[in-house]
């Protein structure tokens, strides 16, 4: 197990390096000129050139890339020659746009995205898996048909539609919930758990509608398949109670694909939910990434891309490890 983890971590580092290199390279071919963008409206060619040197964009591609990597290993120097400043480790550079330290920007944006992710994941897992299991137990009956129908509907609702409708109804027309505020970043702040929940609730619901629908389908299909397994008949033949048969024998055996999907979705969500953050004005990673990418802000784009990749790879490893806990047949090797 330890060896397995080390191997996975090694592979993870290599993958991150590849991701960073690709992002860095792609940026070179982009239309944005960060130097021109950073020096503002009244800009002379001389000042653009100065900005280019200050941002380090005058140097060859590989030198720039290595300088970026050096910030991941230790502190590095940033700024125009003669006016350099120390950027503490882990240094992801400074924003071309706002001159803010990218590490700080990320640290600032991450709690919003985590808040959004945690609530949404809990909501869609409970609703999606619960309804999927219920539908499987009522296979072919009215409840099953209704749930499957609702899921087909939910899965085809894009976030912008659900999000805007929810906002319009619950914030606009009914006024039951406040509009999302930047002030609440976590359930541990002044607003408390309740304030945090009401702040993110609509965004969670918008995400949960889409994701629950997928979880209903995968759970239902998996459970129906599991319920028809021979060992389920054995469980019944032993005289076990319905609850034991369904949960201890059925759910335990059919849960693996759901855990896989959950892990991958969690990883992807933590990298920033672009649409949801835009619509609900949550200044998380997705929100920041969109702004950075559209304004040619290379350090911020790099940082968020790598962080997103990191989360996805990390949760892949977590899923693999969790298999060993779920299925003893995986443990053997």
């Amino acid at each position: 197990m330890i060896g397995f983890l080390f191997r996975r971590l090694g592979a993870m580092l290599i993958l991150l390096l590849v991701v960073s290199f690709i992002t860095f390279t792609l940026f070179q071919f982009g239309p944005a000129d960060p130097a021109a963008a950073s020096c503002g409206q009244e800009c002379t060619p001389e000042r653009v050139e100065q900005a280019r040197i200050a941002l380090g964009l005058d140097k060859p591609f590989f030198v720039q890339y290595l300088a970026f990597l050096s910030g991941l290993v230790g502190p590095r120097m940033l700024g125009a020659p003669g006016a350099e400043q120390v950027c503490a480790w882990p240094c992801l550079g400074k924003s071309f746009q706002t001159n803010e330290n990218v590490t700080d920007m990320i640290a600032n944006a991450l709690p919003y995205t985590v808040s959004l992710t945690v609530g949404a994941v809990v909501l869609w897992t409970v609703v999606g898996v619960g309804m999927g299991l219920f539908a499987a137990l009522r296979k072919g009956k009215l409840a099953d048909r209704l749930i499957v129908g609702a899921a087909s509907f939910g899965v085809s609702l894009p976030i912008p539609v659900t999000g805007l409708v929810l906002l319009l109804v619950f914030v606009g027309t009914l006024g039951w919930l406040p509009f999302t505020t930047n002030a609440i970043r976590s359930p541990f702040g002044e607003a408390g758990f309740f304030g945090w929940t009401t702040n993110y609730l609509l965004a969670w619901i918008a995400l949960a509608v889409l994701f629950s629908a997928q979880y209903v389908r995968i759970t239902r299909n998996n459970m129906i398949e599991t319920f028809s397994e021979d060992f389920m008949r054995t469980a019944r033949a032993k005289g076990l109670s319905r609850g034991t048969i369904v949960f201890k024998h059925g759910v335990r055996a059919g849960i693996t694909p759901i855990v896989t999907m959950l892990g991958l979705d969690l990883g992807a969500m933590l990298g920033g939910a672009v649409l949801t953050e835009q619509i609900f004005s949550v200044p998380g990673l997705g929100f920041t990434a969109v702004r950075a990418a559209t304004s040619g802000d290379l350090p911020v784009t790099m940082a968020i891309t790598m962080l997103a990749a990191f989360f996805i790879i990390l949760f892949n490893v977590i899923v693999d490890v969790s298999y060993a806990f779920i299925d003893p047949r995986v443990r053997v090797n």
């Binding site: 397994e229 054995t234 033949a237 005289g239 055996a253 053997v332």
Partner: protein
């Protein structure tokens, strides 16, 4: 102790009702081993699952009568039936690998079967599981109890399955083709084990199989099934030496002989009945070489009754009217 009378089981499908059982009859006495034989789709497994009550709360339509020790099992609710499953009626399945839960240890699965029906601690139940594994001949049961099914060999898995089915010492054991998925050498061991344990506990056994050799070795009585009915039942000796029903005769004739000069087997012509659309007459009529001997097309028009003569029963017009040729001795 067990009496199945005129049992019918139908499954609704998109194409209509599939009649899996059409008036099945079966009697079983305490301590007796009965072989339930017939080809695939003849209703052997459906019969055993119906006795277990596994069609309760499904869409299957059941009619007829299943009486076990004076209790009408068909009338029982799922909850009341649970007190019979595992405790009074145990069941062994065909493929022990798929019939055991892959994520729980063999020991915990046996202990679970014991704990449903007996109020004992986890520790005590584990000890019961260890003892049971030892009884079914698993070496080093103390260590093996914590193994998972995939860590057992096929034969050991079936032994463990038997341990699970017998841990509550049921009065009736239904073995649904328990040796089909095993090597021939292991098959013999499992058969020996079942008869040994049966002798110890004096439980009755329904042995579902399509292997007549196994029947000859293990059973006292045979029930031959065709198209969801019992077409003939008799002692093993009678079935092998004087089969009455043309289908049973066909089965005997299709068995390979060790001593025969003729290498070719004699198949029964035609194919098994379509359970979606059963004939109104004898279900075997269109494959029966003797149907033409019966006058007035009775075989085509009238479903024969199970005619009981002493210990021997058969469902055949030709047999009833004594029109069939005398049976030639089959086998050696």
């Amino acid at each position: 102790m067990l009496s199945v009378k005129n049992l019918s089981v139908q499954f609704p499908t998109d194409d209509g009702m599939v009649a899996a059982l059409n008036g099945m009859d079966l009697q079983l006495h305490r301590g007796e081993t009965v072989g339930l034989v017939g080809e695939s789709g003849s209703g052997k497994s459906v019969t055993s699952q119906a006795i277990m009550g596994l069609f309760k709360e499904t869409r299957a339509k059941i009619s007829g009568e299943i009486t076990f020790e004076g209790t009408d099992l068909l009338a029982l609710s799922e909850d009341r039936m649970r007190t019979f499953r595992g405790k009074k009626i145990g069941m062994i399945f065909q493929d022990p690998l798929s019939a055991m839960h892959p994520f729980y240890t063999v020991g915990s699965q046996i202990a679970e079967a014991y704990r449903v029906h007996n109020k004992v601690s986890r520790k005590a139940a584990k000890q019961v599981a260890i003892d049971m594994l030892a009884r079914v001949g698993i070496p080093d049961p103390k260590k093996r109890v914590d193994n998972y099914p995939h860590e057992f060999s096929g034969g050991m898995r079936q032994r463990a399955m038997i341990a699970m089915a017998l841990v509550c010492e049921p009065e009736l054991l239904i073995a649904d083709e328990p040796t089909t998925a095993l090597d021939v050498t292991v098959q013999a061991q499992i058969l020996d084990l079942i008869s040994e344990l049966q002798a110890e506990t004096n439980s009755a056994v329904i042995f579902v199989t399509h292997d007549l050799g196994v029947v000859a070795q293990l059973c006292q009585r045979v029930v031959v099934m065709y198209g969801g009915q019992c077409v003939e039942q008799a002692s093993v000796r009678e079935i092998f030496t004087a089969p009455s029903h043309p289908y049973t005769r066909g089965l005997m004739a299709s068995m390979p002989h060790l001593s025969g000069e003729d290498d070719r087997l004699t198949p029964i012509p035609g194919s098994p009945p379509a359970l979606l659309d059963l004939p109104s007459g004898c279900i075997f009529a269109d494959r029966c070489e003797f149907a033409a001997l019966v006058p007035d097309n009775r075989c085509q028009n009238e479903r024969p009754q199970l005619l009981v003569t002493g210990e021997h029963a058969a469902r055949c017009h030709g047999h009833e009217m004594s029109l069939l040729p005398k049976t030639i001795k089959v086998g050696a």
